[in-house]
């Protein structure tokens, strides 16, 4: 079975990352398993390296070297740090560079002699790093936990208050009293609290007339846009004429022009049946 290799033209384009992402992916997958194409690619890379070296040469600024070596020093490798620490004790006065040179020219010791003297330093450094990391993680977690505890306490408090308000309003034994200017006859009243952007509504009514059997009161939201009234829930008054509607399902962002109440058949209606017996603008 013959293997279809990547054409030389395309291999050159692959080397320069000039194929489409799909072609790059396919070529990379082939090259990984194809020694012949790998060899050809290495030769093309060699040619490209030659070509790259034809640019006019310009030295980078001295600061670039300092910047690199500062970063290199910052990212010291653990084994070398330990080895440097080992040699530093008797040669402290010679400075870092001398130490590095010393490391290069020091006579070779046996494997045990090379490993054991700094093994302790490496282990100690590892333990210190691990302990520091664990301490930092512990402190961070404690801080996060405290913050979450505080948030939970606040939420619990808010939820308790909301539940108490709801319980008070819906408790069948609650006493609902409407204060009016004396002397006056009891009047039928409804009060709507509506938040348009959340679609949330609370309705309370007092002194409602008892309904005939199979009839129900229905609240309507009359949109400011002039579109059809939206049913906002049905209710029956209790024996004292009190009624309430809490958080009926309503669409959000509907600005209301007015609210009204009608009498409908049990189950409610999608369109109000005249007359509107209560209205508020």
């Amino acid at each position: 079975m013959s293997i279809r290799h990547i054409e030389h033209d395309d291999l050159a384009l692959f080397a320069m990352q000039l194929l489409s992402p799909e072609e790059m992916q396919a070529a990379a997958a082939h090259i990984e398993d194809c020694p012949e194409c790998r060899q050809n690619l290495a030769e093309i890379q060699g040619n490209l390296a030659l070509y790259a070296s034809t640019v006019d040469m310009e030295a980078p600024r001295a600061e670039a070297r300092e910047r690199l070596l500062a970063q290199v020093a910052k990212e010291k490798k653990p084994a070398f740090v330990a080895a440097a620490a080992e040699t530093e004790l008797p040669n402290r006065s010679f400075g870092g560079r001398a130490l590095l040179e010393e490391e290069e020219t020091a006579p070779r010791r046996g494997i045990g002699g090379m490993i054991f003297p700094w093994l302790g330093w490496v282990l100690a450094a590892c333990f210190l790093v691990a302990a520091g990391k664990l301490y930092f993680q512990r402190e961070t977690m404690i801080g996060t936990l405290d913050e979450q505890r505080s948030q939970i306490a606040q939420l619990t408090n808010d939820a308790t208050k909301a539940r108490e308000i709801m319980d008070t309003m819906t408790d069948p034994t609650a006493m609902h009293v409407t204060l009016t200017k004396t002397p006056s006859e009891p009047v039928t009243q409804g009060r709507v609290t509506y938040v348009a952007n959340k679609g949330m509504l609370i309705f309370e009514a007092n002194n409602m007339e008892p309904l005939e059997p199979n009839k129900v009161y229905e609240l309507w939201l009359i949109p400011a846009s002039g579109s059809d009234p939206i049913p906002a829930g049905t209710f029956h008054p209790d024996e004292h004429g009190n009624a309430s509607l809490l958080m009926p399902t309503l669409p959000k962002e509907i600005q209301a022009k007015a609210f009204g109440v009608t009498i409908e058949n049990e189950g409610g209606s999608q369109k109000p049946t005249l007359p509107i017996i209560m209205a508020g603008v």
Binding site: D9, D10, F14, G46, L50, M57, A59, R61, A64, F80
Partner: protein
């Protein structure tokens, strides 16, 4: 032209790249400085040619040598010419910076094959002069097409669109230019 200012790097190591890389792997900062002094000019010059901005070219220079410091084994694994690998990587990283995309790892894994000891400055200078001479003798279309692909990072479709040449012609010109370069160095 390639001239050594000599002001930035007082230490000149005579050790070969493999030895220096092995020392870098063990954390030897002096070995790292030696590799930088040996190849920073090539890396910077290639990056500057592509990016045309000294600050961006310095960033590429820093990134590439920090990668050598962090993962010298990446090159040790693939063998080949370390200097060539750095030059090609400088080009690829610079094109990535131009396109603002993530580095393509799969290409960097293949080290360039080279018969030249780029660690040796005299040999390196001679090779560069010879490569320049070969490139200058190429037909203008071939030279221009290779330049647009390699240094400007234009795809063969983009080059075809800009020059009005068929796609196949663009590919052939790139291949021919590289083959001529190779032949000049294997003759």
């Amino acid at each position: 032209m390639y001239r050594d200012s000599g002001s930035n790097h007082p230490l000149r190591s005579t050790e070969d790249d493999a030895t220096l890389l092995e020392k870098v792997r063990r954390g030897d900062e002096l070995a790292m400085a030696s590799l930088y002094d040996r190849y920073s000019k090539v890396v910077y010059s290639v990056a500057l040619r592509v990016l045309r901005d000294p600050a961006s070219a310095e960033d590429v220079l820093q990134d590439i040598f920090m990668q050598v410091w962090r993962q010298p084994e990446r090159f040790e694994r693939s063998r080949g010419s370390f200097g060539g690998w750095l030059a090609v990587m400088a080009r690829n990283r610079s094109i990535d910076a131009l396109r603002r995309k993530r580095p393509t790892e799969s290409i960097d894994e293949i080290a360039p094959a080279s018969n030249y000891n780029l660690a040796d400055e005299v040999e390196r200078d001679g090779m560069m002069d010879r490569a320049r001479s070969v490139i200058h003798q190429l037909p203008v279309e071939q030279r221009k097409t290779l330049e647009m692909a390699f240094f400007d990072g234009l795809t063969h479709s983009e080059i075809a669109e800009m020059t009005g040449d068929p796609l196949g012609t663009v590919k052939t010109r790139i291949r021919s230019a590289l083959m001529t370069l190779r032949k000049a160095f294997t003759a």
